[in-house]
Amino acid sequence: MSLDLIFWIVCFVMGLGLVAFTFYQMLCLLDLEADFLNIYEAASQINSVVLPEFILQGVLCAIFLLTWHWFMFLVAAPVALYHVMLYVNGKHLVDVTEIFRNLNQYKKLRYYKLGAYMFLLIVVLTRLTLSAFHYVRNGDDLVHLF
């Protein structure tokens, strides 16, 4: 298999992961708003995936940089920078005591992030399809493999 294809598959999986993390946080917030979750559970559930999400996103961003995918890096970098900023200021976690006061802000933030990740995912998916297409078309590669 071509390296390129593998690379894009990995990126796709990571992108999916990011979307999933964010979506999960959104769900928690919505549940909280609808009173299906209490603040303590909601906060701990959200906070438990914040750092994994940050790390995953950071890794993805780093991969893009290291593999010289400039465009993809530029797409991912702002979010990564934002994450770094949040983390440095100690504001990355949801504040359980003020969660209701900031609920809308949290939700908005996650909507935007979800949008950004979706965009990233779409771009990755396109690249993945393209490289898969290339891969399939250059059938001789296939032959070489066997």
């Binding site: 603040i39 303590y40 359980v96 209701f100 006061r101 609920l103």
Partner: protein, 1040 residues
């Protein structure tokens, strides 16, 4: 009502229009807002001569409602055509021309509604007609004999001017603006009734025609500059020359400026009335001085005045001590809300102390269960209506028809009222307490539990704090609520944590020391928390030995975080109240804090607010956990050095507790204060494991909550331990663009465990009229509630922004509100350089100023210590309205004359006359008491007679006063002074007012203690009251 002068509502512009200014003189085009109604109807309104008061009245009230109901047709009764507001024909029977009936008009339909709820079916649109007769009995006012008022006041046009809008005619408007829909219209009117007893009225009337020399309220005032509006007509004439006003306006006297002690502005009666109060802020030609004497500015020298008329219009509402709306006229549309610029909301003090005889009745629905609406879960209250022969009831919040449970069924009488109404406090009282059955418990009701976490490091020992605390706790053991279930426990800590086994079988408490701070464990599973009545002797032995146990302790460390965790582990089975006595900066283990101190370089930068936030997330997390397990924390902080109250106080903030701060505590000086406040904290009635929710009618929603608590879901306040000294502020938003109901209902429900072990629900219900008129909203504003919300918003703002931003936002909102108000009237009235404001908000600018000068918001780095600032912030976030207003505008009274007078001749009330908080009030020959509700400051004038000082201070009279402690000496004067202080303290037991003595000229103490608190003086670059008013006025005019 004690002093007329300060009661805002209505009295000054009492609606009398002299015949001299006939209505016609107000040119019709000037009636901008209102529909054509007013003018046309005017004639009509006159022609009805109306002899018998009661008769006149009935149609009236129905009219009121009819108008209000608009098309809803809920009262299709007599003057049916009134349903269309714009129709101006007034039924002949309708307008009473005499003063007497005029007075009666107001008598609202509401009381009667209230009395006979079923009959009327509030907003619901029920057809039942109210028998007119039933109204009469409820109106004491109607018995006032008709007094001839001279010329029939044209202002009788109110029913018409009514619709829609406020002051339709310049000056023509009676102060009780009937301007709108039902409830609204009846309300203001009612207030007029209340205020002005007829006789007085007549007198005034008599006085006026001659324009008799009314004694000017401010004699000193030279006529040369725009004087007080209260003054005579000559003055008015003079004014006329500066402000060429339309003929109608020329005569008017804007009498609103009330001044304490001033005579009710008689002059005002003669002339045209305005609907607002105003100040003249123009300079005389050729003079630089502002044309305003600062002494005429409004001052709340009578303290907080609750909007009384509202209470009387809605007698079924809960008392304002429990719930106060920022305006008792709820706007009906979002556009109206956006023009109101002041906070729209309420201040709730669910457990406020009721005076003797007004306690909240307890209701036990043992068999039937608590009656609540199926859909919105509203508790049954006086505003629900019973229909269908008593088998159904209609919820007043969501208007769902509910079944009446079998056990709760009662027949309806002819008027549609339940026959058992008298035995049902929940149907007649706005505040009631239900005994909650087991469905309202997630676990058996907890016993009252007090846990003490005491710092025993060297500084605590040296300050003597431990001794005072131990003694106080011991003396309170008998009065702790909830005997015999009360539980108690102790932990002390320095660099290690000390647990005490107080098992009842022991004779001596056993101390266990845990020094592993990283991995805290509780050495004993039980017996750290014991039942007080069983282990009483052990607890007493412990408290006796506590001070001596640590008297030689030299440990300077403080393992605050770990011991807090330990206390949490001990308590989390039950919950309860955790009292923390902290004397130093937490220095060991988790939650240790840095001396981040008060870095002056941070002030004015974007990082400034971080100083006021908890440094370590541990504190927020811990607070959340504590709340989760129903533990309320009260912090007692004592250090003279920086202890990071911002971090420590967070624990109290999110657990519904409070922060007591005693800077530089010395038991000899502050011991008494700590003793009283701790005793109060331990013995006051406390509601345990409480949650509070506020419900309100359709279309309105509470969105933000401000105070010390944690939100558990969007609208549920978790309050592990709540008591009478805590108030919460909430803000409202309109969910629908237009409210169609006439009345909005609010219901506060506090579910809690009483100390006796009963689960209870305290329910406060309040109805407020919906209005479509901005002017009415302003008229019905409640300054106290507004200021309370303002201060909370401002303090919250300091947690995310600079102090200056917080102050500016207060000022901006006041400016915007006044500008909007000005715009309301700018069209019809030549306002000129006058500053106008609704009478209800006359103190708002002053309170705004003093809020900006209050400790949490004042100045910058040098103006208040960081700890002090934070502590004051936490305290103010929880203060009830009255207490807050007292703090913002403290009382200053002069006592030397009283002390010198021969005994028992002076009336105590007499000397309690509050002075304005301005440097000039202080006479160097006097002795003054400054009382802000938290402490007394006794100011000794430089030229105070030495006799007084000697008598009061004994041998210390020449010493430096900072070291002198005021105590009673064996002479009359001293006893009297102590008597005054005692009386003042009794008026509000929530804090102990410790006297601080200061002598004139004793700097810097004098400046810190007193001069900085004279809010009307310009201090250190801040505005004085007059400048502030001028500044606000300028800003109001800028865009206006």
């Amino acid at each position: 009502m004690k002093a007329m002068g300060t009661e805002n509502p209505g009295h000054p512009n009492f609606p009398v229009r002299p015949s001299a200014t006939p209505f016609a003189s107000a040119p019709p085009p000037v009636t901008p807002f209102s529909s054509s109604g007013p003018v046309a109807s005017e004639g009509n309104s006159f022609r009805a001569a109306l002899p018998a008061a009661p008769q006149g009245m009935t149609p009236y009230s129905s009219f009121g409602s009819a108008v209000g109901q608009d098309a809803s047709g809920y009262r299709p009764s007599p003057p049916a055509r009134f349903n269309d507001p714009s129709v101006s024909s007034v039924p002949t029977s309708f307008v009473p021309p005499t003063g007497a009936s005029f007075q009666q008009f107001p008598t609202p339909q509401f009381p009667s509604t209230a009395q006979a709820p079923p009959a009327r079916g509030p907003p619901v649109g029920q057809p039942p007609l109210q028998p007119p007769a039933s109204q009469v009995p409820f109106r004491p006012q109607s018995s006032i004999p008709p007094v001839s008022m001279g010329s029939p006041p044209p202002s009788v046009n109110f029913p018409t001017g009514v619709y829609q809008s406020d002051s339709s005619f310049p000056g023509a408007r009676p102060n009780f603006p009937p301007s709108f829909p039902s409830a609204g219209s009846s309300y203001p009117a009612a207030r007029a009734t209340l205020q002005q007893p007829m006789p007085g009225y007549a007198t005034n009337q008599a006085a006026v025609p001659q324009a008799s020399p009314v004694p000017s309220a401010f004699p000193t005032q030279p006529g040369s500059y725009m004087p007080l509006p209260t003054s005579l007509s000559p003055f008015s004439a003079q004014q006329g020359s500066y402000f060429p006003a339309p003929p109608a306006a020329a005569l008017q006297s804007r009498d609103q400026m009330q001044h304490p002690g001033s005579i009710p502005p008689v002059g005002g009666i003669q002339s045209l009335m305005e609907d607002f109060s105003s100040l003249f802020l123009t300079s005389m030609p050729g003079s630089i001085e502002p044309g305003l004497d600062s002494m005429v500015l409004p001052r709340p020298l009578d303290g907080d005045v609750e909007p009384k008329s509202f209470v009387e219009t809605f007698p079924l509402n809960c008392n304002p001590r429990y719930l106060r709306l920022t305006t008792t006229a709820i706007p009906n549309s979002q556009s109206l809300v956006s023009r109101w610029h002041l906070p729209l909301g309420a201040v709730v003090c669910p457990l406020a102390e009721a005076p003797e005889g007004e306690e909240v009745p307890v209701v036990n629905f043992a068999s039937s269960g608590i009656v609540r609406c199926k859909r919105c879960r509203t508790y049954v209250n006086p505003y629900v209506t019973f229909t269908d022969a008593g088998r159904k009831w209609r919820c007043n919040l969501c208007s769902l028809l509910n079944d009446v449970p079998g056990d709760y069924y009662a027949h309806l009488d002819a008027a549609g009222q339940r026959i058992d109404l008298d035995e049902r406090p929940e149907l007649t009282k706005g505040s009631v307490e239900f005994v909650a059955p087991t469905e309202y418990m997630v676990r058996p009701p907890m016993p009252p539990l007090y846990f003490f976490l005491i710092d025993v490091s060297v500084s605590a020992v040296r300050s003597g704090m431990i001794e005072v605390v131990a003694q106080t706790i011991k003396s309170c053991l008998d009065q702790l609520p909830g005997f015999p279930r009360t539980q108690i426990g102790f932990i002390t800590y320095d660099s290690t944590i000390h647990f005490y086994n107080m098992k009842s079988s022991l004779t001596q408490p056993q101390m266990m020391v845990v020094s592993d701070l990283d991995d805290i464990f509780v050495p004993l599973p039980d017996d750290l928390l014991v039942n007080l009545s069983e282990s009483r002797t052990v607890v007493e032995t412990f408290l006796d030995s506590l001070p001596s146990m640590f008297q030689d302790n030299l440990n300077i460390e403080s393992a605050f975080g770990p011991s807090l965790k330990a206390a949490f582990m001990v308590m989390n089975q039950l919950g309860g109240k955790l009292l923390i006595f902290q004397n130093t900066l937490p220095s060991l283990g988790v939650g240790r804090l840095r001396l981040r101190g008060d870095d002056f370089r941070l002030y004015g930068t974007d990082k400034e607010h971080a100083l006021r936030l908890p440094e370590d997330p541990f504190y927020k997390q811990m607070a959340a956990d504590l709340t989760k397990y129903q533990i309320g924390v009260n912090i007692y902080a004592f250090s003279d050095k920086y202890t990071d109250i911002a971090s420590l106080g967070t624990l109290a903030k999110y657990t519904g507790g409070q922060v007591y701060y005693y800077p530089s505590f010395q038991s000899a000086v502050h011991g008494e204060k700590l003793r009283h406040e701790l005793a109060r904290d331990l013995t006051r009635e406390t509601a345990w494991e409480a949650v509070m929710r506020i419900r309100c009618g359709k279309g309105v929603r509470f969105t933000s909550y401000h105070g010390n608590f944690m939100l558990r879901s969007t609208d549920l306040l978790a309050l592990p331990a709540v008591d009478c000294d805590k108030a919460y502020a909430v803000q409202l938003t309109l969910e629908e663009t237009l409210l169609t109901t006439q009345t909005v209902y609010f219901q506060v429900a506090l579910l809690y465990t009483a100390s006796c072990g009963e689960r209870r629900i305290r329910v406060h219900t309040l109805a407020a009229p919906v209005v479509s008129d901005l002017g009415e909203m302003y008229r019905q504003a409640d300054t106290g509630a507004i200021v309370s919300l303002f201060s909370r918003l401002a303090i919250e703002k300091t947690l995310a922004h600079k102090l200056e931003d917080a102050r500016n936002s207060v000022q901006q909102r006041i400016v915007k509100a006044l500008r909007e108000y000005r715009n309301l009237y700018a069209v019809q009235h030549r306002l000129g350089a006058r500053m106008i404001y609704p009478d209800s908000l006359k103190f708002l600018p002053l309170y705004g100023l003093s809020l900006c000068k209050s400790i949490p918001l004042r100045g910058g780095y040098a103006d208040a210590q960081l700890d002090e600032r934070c502590a004051a912030g936490f305290t103010m976030m929880a203060l009830p309205v009255k207490k807050l207003l007292k703090l913002l505008y403290p009382s200053l009274i002069r006592v030397d004359e009283y002390l010198l007078k021969p005994s028992s001749q002076v009336d105590f009330e007499n000397i309690m006359k509050r002075l304005t908080l301005i440097g000039e009030s202080l006479d160097s020959r006097g002795l003054y008491i400054y009382d802000d509700g938290f402490r007394f400051i006794l100011w000794f004038g430089r030229m105070l007679s030495p006799d007084i000082s000697r008598n009061l201070l004994g041998t210390d009279f020449a010493a430096e006063l900072s070291k002198v402690i005021l105590s009673e000496h064996d002479n009359e004067m001293s006893r009297r002074l102590m008597g005054i202080l005692k009386k003042l303290r009794e008026s509000d037991p929530s804090y102990y007012l410790l006297p601080c003595l200061v002598r004139q000229g004793e700097q810097p103490r004098e400046g810190l203690l007193l001069l900085a608190n004279l809010v009307e003086d310009p201090i250190g670059g801040t505005n004085g009251y007059l400048d502030w008013i001028l500044q606000i006025h300028r800003q109001v005019q800028q865009i206006a």
